[in-house]
């Protein structure tokens, strides 16, 4: 569905064919075929291709991610190459110096990998389980909300607001994440709520 990769299917075919006998069918003459017999299979031929968009600026260039392993089959998958999507109407396969370095973002040494806490006054991090982290965060949120929620203002008007905890929303998350975030933040009555539109 919606993943048309005809050009890359061709590359796959060419890559697989180089090791087999299909080269003739692609129009190679025998001399070329003999050379092709010794060429290594195209590295990306055995990868899983996934369509994505660059997460940096708002041109939203199409990218193709090449992965070892297939998430859809329930496998573990690791991206080994990212390139521009030649079929994308805006970028037509090109990427800028930021987008061309995307693999190094995905694989950055400084990716966060486990929930952690830095306790008050401490100078180091301590690892937490997800349950451990989320339970503590929910307790902080509820304590502050219960202590500082304003149900009515001084004129007796129902205002149901909470301004002592704030939320700063991301701008590279999806619209779907944004709506989930909106639902949770707004239903708590939070008003100190902003995003990256300004910076």
């Amino acid at each position: 569905m919606n993943i048309e990769v005809s050009r890359r299917h061709f590359l796959k075919l060419a890559g697989a064919g180089a090791a087999g006998s299909a080269v003739g069918a692609l129009g190679f003459e025998s001399a070329e075929a003999m050379v092709a017999e010794h060429v290594r299979p195209f590295k990306l031929a055995k990868t899983t291709e996934t369509r994505n968009t660059c997460p940096y600026c708002s041109v939203a260039c199409g990218v193709i991610m090449y992965g070892k392993g297939d998430l859809k089959k329930g496998e573990k998958a690791e991206i080994i190459h990212i390139e521009g999507d030649a079929d994308h109407p805006t970028n037509r396969g090109t990427l800028c110096p930021k987008g061309a370095g995307l693999l190094d973002f995905v694989q950055a040494k400084t990716r966060t990998k486990t929930p952690r806490v830095r306790e008050a006054g401490s100078s180091e991090w301590k690892e937490l389980s997800w349950d451990g982290a989320l339970d503590r965060i929910a307790r902080h949120i509820k304590n502050d909300r219960d202590a500082n929620f304003v149900a009515t203002n001084k004129d007796g008007v129902t205002v149901n607001r909470w301004t002592t905890t704030g939320f700063l929303a991301a701008s590279a998350t999806t619209n779907e994440t944004a709506f989930m975030t909106y639902k949770v933040v707004r239903s708590a009555g939070m008003l100190v709520f902003d995003n990256q539109a300004r910076v």
Binding site: N52, E78, P89, N91, T94, F149, S171
Partner: protein
């Protein structure tokens, strides 16, 4: 963007002012190159720096940062004086003929109603004259001195080429050459596109910068046409989406607004959002507001939102101040009035102005939660990194949580680009370690709050307990489920009023578009402008057809564009009052005698007659506003105000510092830099190799641009005894950083009001985490003041000093 990236190829003239697309949006800039190569289009760049956009321009003019309004009002003045106006468009599609209250006035940089103590206006005189028929009075002959056209003419006449040059530092001949090139696009069959970005928004009058160009584009007839438009080149991949969905203090999704405490009940709230047409026969589309609002409330609170409780109106918090924007948030934190803060994929320690104040503020919190795929400086604000981030952790009592999240490669869903295209993307990788999606984390926080409130009770738990949660796995809402909520769905069958045996709407189905939303609680819709993105046809955001009939660049079957897959906003304005395209070679829509046809989804009712219903259907006027009434805080027309930190006084109003209607917190006045100690005009910006503070974590980008730099002219370098590659200390009244100097011909001193002004350029990308070399952070320098209307910080124009120094001790 009113148009799309691919539409830029249709233009005759590109003006890049307030941006630098060649470096910041390179793959979008390719469409400028296409227009130049294939249409013979010209590119004009106006910028304080000779950027890479400028390097391929047909014409470049320098300008001092923070003076764009003087320049643009000067261009408008030129167009009026030389009759370079698209008159048929301007008279019919703008409010030039409307009459304004005679009490309105303007003098010495201020409009009527200014209150200096409040730094605010009483805007009651900025409104139209209303006739006995209830409609705005007009003068089609443009003779009345109070008509918008005459007020505009009078307002801009001060901005002569001489005055523009004196304020902006743009040589007069260069200014006039730019005027000539722009003015040519007033012809019916010529157009210009405006490409801008943070270079216009990050000023204390950012909104008026953009408004000023919009006014110019309107009198030239360049809005709603192929190759025209106001095109905001947005920074982050989904900042358009986050704004559309209303993740801001004062918004509901789809640009509905949160109630204030002056609207204690639903009836009062709706009475201020009636949007009655101001001229006969106009659509005033916001008349449907209630349908969108009620459908939103139903998507939030489902069965708990009933007609009896005004669809849970009391569940929404009511504002006591205009906005709780980020500057106010950190001011409150600094005053000790906040206890908790949650940063989702956001690095405020690096991104917000006056880093010292931001760091102090974070240290006053009880708890800070950072959700991010990368190790941010914000999560480490308490760490001691020597002169890059001096700190005594034992003194900082904030409890800091860092939660690992997925990045784009591991997450599924849609992002909305600058051109309003919602493009679905698919995950291809397993998240590293224990990283989780942001949606999962938010769901887990909510689930825990519900459990705690059920067990312990507490402050008004109803909106939390009754939050509509229609997900197959309550622990892990899926992107497709959330997208369907955004699109909207039918809650109850609705009978067809013409045939009760038939159903107009069927329970459980996705709505086709917002046109079917209702105000009686029978439909739900998370974000009305996104309606149509995931309807009964399926996930339209996942469409990937490259069909483009006649090569217009519309790509109607690629992804989904809001609203209702429309690619160019206000596209009815591409045709004249008979419905014929202004330029037959660039037809977008055409009236065939019965309805609108063409290459795009019409931005008007398909059968709306061209000589009756005007194109700007979201305005109750039906026309666009050269005069904006009282809708902007700082004036119905733009005025030239200097930045809060300026190398010269405002020559048109010497007593006014900055924008007189911009909010300044009391303690921040003392933190401003004064020209006597900080003589140089600084600007911050981005390099093409980096994206904000992320790519310093990516090795290849860290290699390409490894360390902080500052760019100065050869003249300033000579004055200060600085050579290329020397270490320098750049500092403002708030802090400083050490970095190497790049001495360049790309920046040249400007002469403003007879004085030599040196421009200092400071790229932003370095901090103290990641692979690149460390920096104290460029925002150690920047001032804590924002735009009068929307509080975007003034990162683009402030004052610094610079001195040679030695390499910092690591």
């Amino acid at each position: 963007m009113t148009n799309s990236w691919t539409d830029i190829k249709n233009t005759d003239l590109v003006i890049i002012m307030g941006g630098n697309a060649a470096e910041a949006h390179p793959c979008g800039f390719k469409w400028v190159t296409e227009a130049k190569a294939n249409r013979g289009a010209k590119l004009v760049v106006v910028d304080p720096r000779f950027t890479r956009s400028a390097s391929v321009a047909d014409y470049y003019a320098p300008i001092r940062q923070g003076t764009d309004i003087a320049f643009l009002l000067g261009v408008i003045n030129y167009c009026i004086a030389n009759d370079k106006v698209q008159w048929e468009y301007t008279k019919a599609f703008t409010n030039v003929t409307y009459l304004v209250k005679p009490e309105f006035g303007y003098q010495d940089g201020l409009f009527t109603g200014y209150d200096e103590a409040k730094r605010d206006y009483d805007r009651s005189t900025w409104e139209y004259q209303i006739g006995e028929d209830g409609f705005v009075k007009v003068d089609d002959t443009l003779q009345d001195p109070h008509c918008v056209w005459n007020l505009l003419k009078e307002h801009v006449k001060q901005y002569t080429p001489e005055l523009v040059s004196r304020i902006c530092g743009t040589p007069k001949d260069k200014f006039l050459k730019v005027c000539e090139m722009i003015a040519e696009t007033s012809a019916r069959d010529k157009t210009m596109t405006s490409m801008y970005a943070l270079g216009w928004t990050q000023h204390s009058k950012g909104s008026q910068n953009i408004r000023c160009m919009a006014m110019l584009q309107l009198i030239l007839g360049n809005i709603g046409v192929r190759g025209g438009g106001m095109n905001a080149l947005r920074g982050h991949s989904n900042i358009q989406g986050l704004t559309d969905i209303g993740l801001m203090s004062n918004l509901l999704p789809g640009y509905l607004t949160l109630p204030t405490e002056k609207e204690p009940d639903f009836a009062t709230y709706m009475s201020k959002r009636g949007f009655k047409p101001m001229r006969p026969g106009q659509m005033s589309y916001w008349q449907n507001y209630k349908k969108f609002f009620v459908s939103f409330q139903k998507s939030m609170w489902g069965a708990a939102a009933t007609p009896e409780n005004d669809f849970a109106y009391d569940y929404l918090p009511k504002l006591d101040v205009p906005t709780y924007d980020v500057l106010r948030a950190f001011e409150l934190m600094h005053q000790g009035k906040m206890n908790g803060y949650i940063c989702q994929g956001f690095n405020p320690l690096m991104s917000f102005p006056n880093k010292a104040k931001i760091k102090d503020s974070l240290g006053k919190l009880k708890f800070l939660v950072v959700m991010d795929p990368l190790e941010t400086e914000t999560a480490r604000f308490w760490e001691d990194h020597g002169e890059y981030n001096p700190s005594t952790p034992a003194d900082i009592k904030t409890e800091v949580f860092e939660l690992p999240t997925t990045c784009f490669a591991e997450d599924e869903g849609s992002l909305t680009n600058s051109g309003r295209w919602l493009q679905w993307h698919w995950p291809g990788a397993t998240p590293p370690g224990e990283a989780k999606t942001d949606a999962w984390i938010m769901a887990q926080i909510w689930k825990r709050l519900v459990a705690l409130y059920k067990k312990e009770g507490g402050a008004f738990p109803d909106p939390i307990l009754n939050l509509h949660w229609p997900y197959a796995d309550a622990d892990d809402p899926q992107p497709a489920e959330l997208a369907k909520e955004l699109n909207g769905y039918v809650i109850e069958d609705v009978a067809d009023p013409t045939d009760p045996t038939k159903k107009l709407l069927e329970k459980g189905k996705q709505v086709a578009s917002f046109a079917t939303l209702r105000d009686d609680g029978t439909t739900a819709c998370g974000c009305w402008i996104y309606s149509g993105c995931f309807n009964e046809q399926g996930n339209n955001m996942a469409r990937r057809s490259t069909d483009d009939p006649d090569g217009t660049g519309a790509y109607l079957k690629w992804a989904f564009s809001w609203p209702v897959n429309r690619r160019i906003l206000y596209n009815r304005a591409s045709a004249d009052l008979e419905g014929k395209p202004w330029d037959p070679t660039r037809k977008l829509l055409e009236w065939n005698g019965e309805k609108w046809t063409g290459y795009d989804v019409p931005d008007i009712a398909p059968t709306a007659k061209p000589d009756v219903v005007m194109p700007f259907i979201m305005n109750p006027e039906g026309t666009s506003r050269l005069w904006v009434r009282g809708m902007m805080k700082d004036g119905p027309f733009p005025v030239h105000y200097e930045p809060f930190e300026s190398p010269i006084a405002n020559v048109i109003a010497p007593k006014i510092r900055g924008n007189p209607a911009a909010r300044v917190f009391k303690d921040d006045w003392a933190s401003f830099s004064d020209v006597s100690k900080f003589p140089y005009a600084a600007v911050t910006y981005r390099l093409t190799e980096h994206f904000h503070f992320w790519t310093k974590h990516a090795r290849i980008n860290a290699i390409l641009q490894p360390e902080p730099i500052v760019e100065i002219s050869e003249q300033l370098a000579a004055e200060k005894g600085i050579k290329k590659g020397d270490w320098v200390h750049v500092y403002s009244n708030r802090g400083g950083l050490k970095c190497r100097a790049v001495v360049t011909k790309r920046i040249k001193p400007l002469i403003c009001d007879g004085k030599t002004v040196h421009v200092v350029g400071v790229p932003i990308h370095w901090g103290f985490t990641g692979e690149a070399k460390k920096s104290a952070g460029t925002n150690s320098l920047t001032p804590f003041v924002g735009d009068a209307n929307i509080e975007t910080p003034e990162f683009k124009a402030f004052l610094v000093n610079i001195e040679p120094t030695t390499e910092p001790v690591a």
